[in-house]
Symmetry: C2
Subunit: 95 residues, 2 copies
């Protein structure tokens, strides 16, 4: 028998928001206590949408937003030049 993953991290990218909503719901249904949504740059809005849809519509009264971190990530672009990009980590937790 496998032990369920207590904590799952989902990288939010360019797919439609619903993909990340489904992945989050599936993680909680599989036994996760925490799901961490991570996103950078333009995908940040999608991570926020995913979090509020989970909390307010899909798992109301079952999941809360436990923590939100805003970060600056260093990204190496074309030509090896480093640039900064904003990033977010949203911790969703089963209540």
């Amino acid at each position: 028998m496998s032990t369920p993953q207590q904590e799952t991290t989902i990288l939010v990218g360019k797919k439609p928001t619903t993909s990340y909503v489904i992945a989050t719901v599936m993680s909680f249904n599989a036994g996760a206590k925490k799901v961490i949504l991570k996103a950078r740059g333009g995908a940040i809005a999608r991570a926020v949408s995913t979090a509020v849809m989970i909390r307010d519509r899909f798992l109301p009264n079952q999941v809360r937003i436990a923590d939100i971190k805003l970060l600056t990530d260093k990204v190496t672009g074309q030509g090896g030049k480093e640039r900064s990009v904003a990033a977010i980590e949203i911790v969703l937790e089963r209540v």
Copy 2:
């Protein structure tokens, strides 16, 4: 003599991020203790970028992120139909 505004709210929309960075710096320089960045939908990423640029680059060790709220806003679209949109409120505070 005018009393400086203790708290300023900046609505982050479709302008370049630097516009909101400048507006935030100017508010703090004008005496604000708190600047609240509000954004909806796609502009959320810009609000997050503004916040981390202020904290990590423009006013390091002077401003901290005191609170972040994620919300669902109701928006009335074309034809009077209501739809939900994710929103963020980031509270920047002088340390």
